[in-house]
């Protein structure tokens, strides 16, 4: 399959490995540069790693760190605008850099399989699952057309899809998220590749499903395939990875055995990433790094470092579960992924690093013992800012709840005419000044409950009371005067803003509704709101599209705060954000709630996030409340099997389970 021309390179590599069979994958000094017009974006800079059979290497980083571009480079799909250079890029001893398009086609799918995130859009939605899985077999001539169907059934069975014959005839949207992802993996491994690259393979999946997908990838590894795992989530990769490489700004900043990197990180960025994992921190302690807090949580380089484009494909909407975690991670356009901060010679992390000095800003650190940093931290000790003590907010029982939900139920009609029950006899209370976390997997009905509390969905049964008065089943005229007292923050602020309006106009509209008149007064109030959420007044002139995901979410929070509400309903407010940005937003919400005395209904699928922000928790499954209780007690001592199952599936960093649980 490899052209004879690269035999010289092959022998060179063989010599360097001194008689041993060559490593499965060797990447040495890989750089990828995108040229768009006159601009040059260095997405990947001098990256080196290797991978053996039966081993899993995880590349971890935020969006824009270059991790996905690195993955795409290994299958030659970086696009025409990319310029790829490497001292060595070999797969099973064959040089990949000399491959032409024909040579790449023989490698792709056959020798290296690629699994992307979100099978709803990564499998062709118009073709049957069976046709998609058979495609690599037919493309590489591994099977005849008549035989393909049988092979597909075998593959579906291998990846643990029940009733393969029926599933093979269905389309991706007819499968659940977990089955879809299994089908996508089946198509990637159909031709028996030796290397599987999984780019965010479990993002947007529920935690229990995530665990199953990682088990499946683990079995591939045990069978001798090399697995290259790309993820934004350090806690998730801990499940599978033997070694971890942390990327930032196109560089590998830290690299080593998984256990070492995760338990005693030495690079300040790795430390900040680990600190930002909510389940790893005591409640009441800030998640974000000091420098992010000092500057109001939005240093230009930190929030800006995430790519501005986070849109999912146009077809993603059809049938996608609204409650799913959303399209985090690799942006589909690799060119967006590489907004490198340190264009000058310095360390790219210097702008965000609490330890940065002039050396960091002027000189790129070279690698020593797996870490590229001028001031590598000493392993490991208690992180510096973990000293704050959780302040339990005790809500006296005597206080009248702000929101009372009594036995509400709601049925929806499916497109095929059948009814399904989204919410079934749910009751909950929200007291002034408390945060009630509602946690559940997609389809648990948590978003429908939130919409009932917002007065956007009428319950079929039951009632909702707001401040002692009937809130459900009343006329919109009655409700409208009180609507401003309940505000909402959603997952994707970009779709809830008019993209043509400036931030000043977006906030000005909200401010005007509270009675503030006059351009100057509105502007002053808008600037004050921005200050409250840690954004400079200069943000007023910008448009949503020019803001990063974190900044947009801050603007959304500012807009929700404009009418000085009593209740804030947050529906997955941080699910689409990188973990360090997520940490800043969570810190902001907790601080605002404390300072303003807001009551918060916080909807999330992420138990770590729920644990961090909530006073009390409601666990939902299939439209019903499974368990409810005070957060520490519920996490420490769950009564229901489902809650136990959920907690067990949460990815936990090695050595921090006792803190989380």
């Amino acid at each position: 399959m490899t052209p004879a021309a690269d035999s010289s390179v092959k022998s060179e590599v063989r010599r360097s490995t001194a008689g041993h069979p060559p490593d499965l994958l060797v990447v040495d000094g890989l750089s990828v540069t995108f040229r768009t017009g006159r601009e040059e974006v260095r997405a990947v800079r001098n990256v080196s790693f290797s991978l053996e059979r039966g081993e899993c290497l995880a590349i971890v980083g935020e969006s824009g760190s270059g991790k996905s571009v690195t993955a795409r480079t290994l299958v030659g799909l970086t696009g025409a605008k990319a310029h790829v250079t490497a001292r060595a890029l070999t797969f099973e001893g064959h040089d990949l850099t000399t491959l032409d398009e024909r040579g790449w086609r023989a490698v792709r799918g056959r020798r290296i399989g690629l699994v992307l995130q979100d099978a709803l859009v990564s499998l062709d939605p118009l073709r049957t699952v069976g046709a998609e899985i058979a495609e690599p077999l037919l493309t590489h001539g591994l099977t005849r057309r008549g035989e393909a169907a049988r092979r597909v059934l075998g593959l579906l069975g291998d990846v643990g899809v029940p009733d393969p014959a029926r599933r093979a005839r269905q389309h991706p949207h007819q499968l659940s998220g977990g089955l879809r992802q299994r089908a996508l993996i089946a198509s990637a491994i159909a031709a028996g590749p030796d290397l599987v690259i999984a780019d965010e393979p479990t993002t947007a999946l529920d935690v229990t499903v995530q665990a199953q997908i990682f088990d499946l990838l683990g079995r591939l590894k045990d069978r001798g395939a090399g697995v290259l795992l790309i993820s934004h989530d350090l806690a998730v990769v801990a499940r599978l990875a033997d070694r971890v490489a942390v990327m930032y700004g196109g560089l590998i900043v830290e690299h080593g055995p998984a256990r070492e990197v995760l338990t005693s990180p030495r690079h300040p960025y790795t430390q900040a990433l680990l600190a930002a994992v909510p389940s790893a921190r005591p409640r009441g302690t800030p998640l974000s790094t000091p420098v992010a807090r000092v500057t109001g949580g939005a240093p230009p380089s930190s929030d800006d470092a995430e790519g501005t484009s986070r849109s999912r494909g146009a077809f993603a909407g059809a049938g996608a579960s609204p409650a799913s975690a959303g399209g985090e991670g690799a942006s589909p356009d690799p060119a967006v992924g590489g907004r490198v901060v340190g264009v000058h010679g310095g360390c790219p992390y210097a702008a965000r690093c609490p330890l940065a000095d002039d050396t960091c800003r002027d000189h790129l650190p070279s690698e020593r013992q797996g870490v590229s940093c001028h001031h590598p931290g000493l392993p490991p000790g208690a992180p510096a800012q973990a000293t704050a003590v959780a302040v339990p907010r005790v809500v006296p029982d005597a206080v009248v709840p702000l929101i009372e939900v009594h036995g509400v139920g709601k049925r929806f009609r499916s497109p095929d005419g059948t009814w399904h029950t989204a919410v079934d006899g749910v009751s909950l209370h929200l007291h002034p000044g408390e945060t009630l976390g509602v946690v559940g997997e997609s389809g648990s009905g948590k978003t429908t409950v939130a919409r009932m509390v917002l007065g956007l969905v009428e319950p079929d049964q039951g009632t909702v009371l707001f401040d002692g008065h009937l809130w459900s089943g009343v006329r919109e005229r009655v409700r409208r005067t009180r609507r401003t007292r309940i505000q909402a923050v959603y997952q994707d602020p970009l779709s809830s803003f008019d993209p043509r309006h400036t931030v000043e106009r977006l906030l000005g509209d909200a401010v005007a509704r509270t009675g503030t008149r006059g351009r100057a007064a509105k502007r002053a109030r808008a600037a004050a709101l921005l200050d409250q959420v840690g954004l400079p007044a200069a943000t007023l002139a910008r448009r949503p599209r020019d803001l990063s995901g974190g900044q947009r979410q801050r603007v959304a929070i500012a807009r929700a705060l404009a009418p000085a509400p009593d209740v804030l309903v947050c529906d997955e407010p941080v699910s689409a954000l990188d973990v360090s940005i997520q940490a800043q937003i969570l810190d902001l919400l907790v601080a605002l709630q404390r300072d303003l005395g807001l009551a918060m209904l916080f909807i999330s699928h992420d138990l770590g996030v729920i644990h961090h922000v909530s006073d009390r928790v409601v666990v939902m499954k299939d439209g019903k409340v499974v368990e409810t209780g005070e957060v520490e007690k519920l996490f420490r001592d769950p009564a229901q099997p489902y809650t136990k199952e959920l907690l067990a599936a949460v990815p936990v960093l090695p050595g921090v389970r006792e803190v989380a649980g």
Binding site: R108, L114, P125, L126, R127, F315, A318, D416
Partner: protein
């Protein structure tokens, strides 16, 4: 499924009834005496004769009765008689529909073929895209009568490859079909390319490439189908409007057809024929939109449920 069919049939009937009613209202609201139009501009008749004609055609009865009679005749497929030709309108339309359908279907088939070729080859490729966009823009902007005359001049008068006028045989179909097809192909190609490029930007296109498919295979096996939905919408609409008569092109090439018939009827105020053409167009659009909708469900299984 059956409920969906019933709903569709009901809405189709509603559209047809609406078209019939509007046509009837237009006929009543047009200024001037119907009898005068019936007799033609050249004839003059006594009041007695006119009254006799009124009674014969039922023009003297109450408007509601006339309307119900009109609907009753429509149900039986009777569109009335042409004032000018004194023949049943239904027969006239049936005669003229076939040449028009030949022309329209030939033009659409040619246009779709050209558009698919142009878009699939050039989508997402910078150099090819520039060339293709240029010809498509030119094709869209050409006035069809001018293009028709140009083609006639070159291929019929100078080269003598095709007949100058007439509606008989395949050779007479070529030039009018090309004339109609070129602007449509330009339009379709642009819509198709946009759809292809949107689909190529989707993650599944990357997945397909990562399985070892070539650029062309990804286009043909995956993205083309995604681009088909907007293409089908536009093609259906264009087919409908062509079947309603391509007046200019039929005139330039001296072809018989619905367009020529319409032109004649309008200039002679031959209202039963005009109404017949309106109703024919309504039927054509209802049928085509049903076909296009059925096609959607075949192309995109996600739309089946709706």
């Amino acid at each position: 499924m059956i409920a969906v069919l019933i709903r569709r049939a009901a809405s189709a009937l509603a559209v047809l009834l609406g078209a019939a009613t509007l046509a009837f209202a237009a006929l009543e609201l047009i200024p001037g005496d119907k009898v005068a139009a019936l007799l033609g501009p050249a004839t003059s008749a006594s009041e007695q004769v006119k009254a006799q004609i009124r009674a014969e055609y039922g023009f003297d009865r109450p408007i509601v009765v006339q309307y119900l009679h009109y609907l009753g005749r429509l149900v039986r497929g009777d569109l009335g008689d042409s004032y000018q030709l004194s023949r049943p309108v239904a027969g006239l339309l049936a005669e003229q529909l076939w040449p028009t359908a030949q022309l329209a279907l030939a033009a659409i088939a040619l246009a779709v073929a050209l558009a698919v070729l142009s878009a699939v080859v050039t989508a997402g490729r910078r150099a090819g895209r520039a060339v293709a966009t240029a010809w498509e823009l030119a094709a869209v902007s050409l006035p069809s009568f001018w293009l028709g005359i140009l083609l006639l001049t070159v291929f019929s008068f100078q080269l003598g490859m095709f007949p100058v006028v007439g509606g008989e045989g395949i050779s007479a179909l070529v030039l009018p079909a090309v004339t109609l097809a070129l602007p449509i192909a330009g339009m379709l190609a642009q819509v198709l390319r946009e759809g292809l490029e949107a689909a190529l930007a989707q993650p599944f296109a990357v997945t397909a490439r990562a399985r070892g498919l070539s650029h062309t295979a990804v286009r043909v096996r995956h993205t083309l189908r995604h681009a088909t939905v907007p293409l089908a919408t536009l093609t259906g609409w264009l087919t409908g409007s062509l079947l309603g008569g391509a007046v200019l092109v039929e005139t330039v090439f001296g072809r018989p057809g619905v367009g020529a018939l319409t032109l004649q009827a309008v200039s002679n105020k031959d209202m039963p024929v005009v109404i017949g053409v309106v109703l024919l167009s309504a039927v054509v659009f209802v049928v085509i939109s049903a076909v296009v909708d059925a096609l959607y469900a075949v192309v995109d299984p996600r739309l089946k449920a709706g």
